[in-house]
Symmetry: C2
Subunit: 353 residues, 2 copies
């Protein structure tokens, strides 16, 4: 059975009294029940000056600068898993995609697709979790949408979030910016999220104690940029895991990336679960980790700043960028040999986010 | 059977050769098949300088001004219907939500949730339709996301779009801006979209010839704002129809809205279909219509400009804003009596968009 999500005490408020205990088709039809859902469930969680206007769009004042804009849909199964749920995942996922441009995320939209019959209590739990996460990430929900589909036509709840943030001047982060001599830094242990979901799904969660790392990384990125704006590339290795993100970097920049075997941190319990299920942790999704590529000279200072941040305590340099093997990621084994770390062909971990 | 969507000749290109004829779970797993889907299907349709970078977020240069930001998920059933499909609906719906702030829509995100087994040909047809619509609306797809869920866990395809546009200076459109003496203008016939979907679903499409009005309204809004920036309120009456939009206006502004019976244009074939199905056209979704509230003095000039635009040819003044009955919408019947036009309770038309 999935664990209950951790909801801060102050936010664990009871479900308001509603006309229905479960989601009805009419909750998505734009009439009175839609209005009740918005007024009783959504506004108490997300309400703010912009959202309260209930216009069909948010009109926002933004500071000048380049805008980062991103979208993600979340279909994770199960919707509650050790360490999180689809709600905090949906907020953190988009916060992190915005943050990986170096931007501070400011605004987020939330689009729900709900299955007829979803218990109102389940939706409320997810909303409480989204509220707590949005506060932690310091991001404001400014616009939203709710659709309801007939029973059996979706899987309880899907959530889309889109995010906006302003990229600071002088920051230019891109997968195409890698230079030979750069160092590759991971912000912590890999494969936690994917294995938390997989072990829950396989009924192994009790013995494995594997917990999702779902977390907002905008604060960590801010701390890194305070050391140097010269961060070449950033990515949160979600679907496809670290191996896929690094392959995308190597291709975009036409450089090689050489990893040191044993340098990539993996929790023992995650490693154990990976072995049981026959999965390589390099290909498993993370939801609270980033991989950064920084010039060699700045790498020690950036690493130090990362380790001082709560979401970067286990940060480690795991490899470097080379001019040989352009487009490829390789792993140097203990004996001095090298193997290619390819992109995932990947149907091993569907619906991980 | 649903009609085929109308795809301009130049865009009806054949499906590229892919490894699979149908969507696999791996197409959403972030690995090689995800990359193939993006490279072979998505980029040829939507490719541009920003999207081609394949970063996890778009970094955009925007002109200064207030930003309009909106999101919508589309779950329409059936996905192809007379006059359109889920693809053009997803583009037009978000273009219109942005445009209803007075903004010109500039950028759009696209998030797909695909069902395992969806024919690649179906996805391709939808993409061609989205491409044509994005061109017509002059909007650029800058970021996207694709998830795949197991067979039976969604209904072929759901699409989320989020949109961005810049609100021109001096424009201040809001549901809270209505003033007594304002005129209410509808841009054309109501209930076309909803009845096109409903008659298709009920197997009545052949005899009814009812066609969706799905269209991008940003050009029409621009033409109206060229007459006067003093447009008080704008909304595209989708779910819940015209009656719901007007009720929202009346509540937000705490004014009355008095409609003239017989003034709201409805196509005869739509009226006929509404009668057969026992549905009031005032509550039926439109996807290419807007309702505007403008000061009485400007109403004639705005109406004239609307009628000169291809999406406003049947525009009509349908009522006025009053200080009596605040918060209520009423309809004056031929005999001088009045009835209340309430908000829809509304489960009559699920999954209309």
């Amino acid at each position: 059975m999935p664990d209950k999500p951790i909801i801060p005490e102050a936010l664990s408020c009871p479900l308001p009294i509603m006309d229905h205990d479960t989601i009805q088709l009419a909750h998505g039809a734009g009439g009175k029940l839609s209005a009740q859902l918005i007024e009783k469930l959504f506004l108490p969680r997300f309400g703010n000056q912009t959202l309260d206007k209930l216009e069909d769009q948010a009109v926002l004042e933004l500071p000048p600068g380049r805008l980062a804009f991103t979208t993600d849909s979340f279909v994770v199964e199960p919707i509650f898993f050790p360490g999180g749920d689809i709600g905090d995942l949906a907020v953190n996922g988009t916060v992190n995609d915005v943050a990986m441009s170096g931007a501070q995320p400011l605004y987020i939209s939330v689009g729900f697709i709900l299955e007829e019959g979803l218990p109102m209590e389940t939706l409320h739990r997810i909303l409480l979790s989204m509220e707590a996460t949005a506060r932690a990430a310091n991001i404001v929900v400014v616009t939203g949408d709710t659709k309801v589909v007939n029973r059996g036509k979706c899987d309880q709840i899907f959530i889309n979030t889109s995010g906006l943030g302003v990229v600071p001047e002088g920051v230019n982060i891109s997968a195409a910016n890698l230079q030979p001599g750069d160092k590759v830094i991971i912000s912590g242990t890999v494969a936690d999220h994917g294995m938390a979901v997989m072990t829950t799904r396989e009924g192994l969660s009790f013995q494995s104690r594997v917990t999702s790392d779902t977390a907002p990384l905008n604060g960590l990125v801010k701390a890194m940029l305070a050391v140097t704006p010269e961060i070449h590339a950033l990515r949160d290795p979600t679907r496809g895991g670290l191996a896929t993100s690094l392959n995308e970097f190597a291709r975009s920049s036409q450089v090689g990336i050489s990893l040191e075997e044993g340098a990539v941190p993996v929790r023992p319990e995650v490693n154990g679960a990976c072995e049981i299920l026959g999965i390589d942790p390099l290909y498993v999704a993370n939801e609270g980790k980033l991989v950064a590529v920084v010039p060699g000279q700045q790498s020690a200072a950036v690493l130090k700043a990362m380790r001082q941040h709560e979401y970067g305590r286990d940060a480690a340099i795991i490899g470097e960028v080379t001019s040989i093997n352009p487009g490829l990621v390789t792993m140097r084994t203990g004996l001095g040999a090298s193997r290619i770390v390819d992109m995932a062909v990947g149907d091993q971990l569907p619906r991980i986010c």
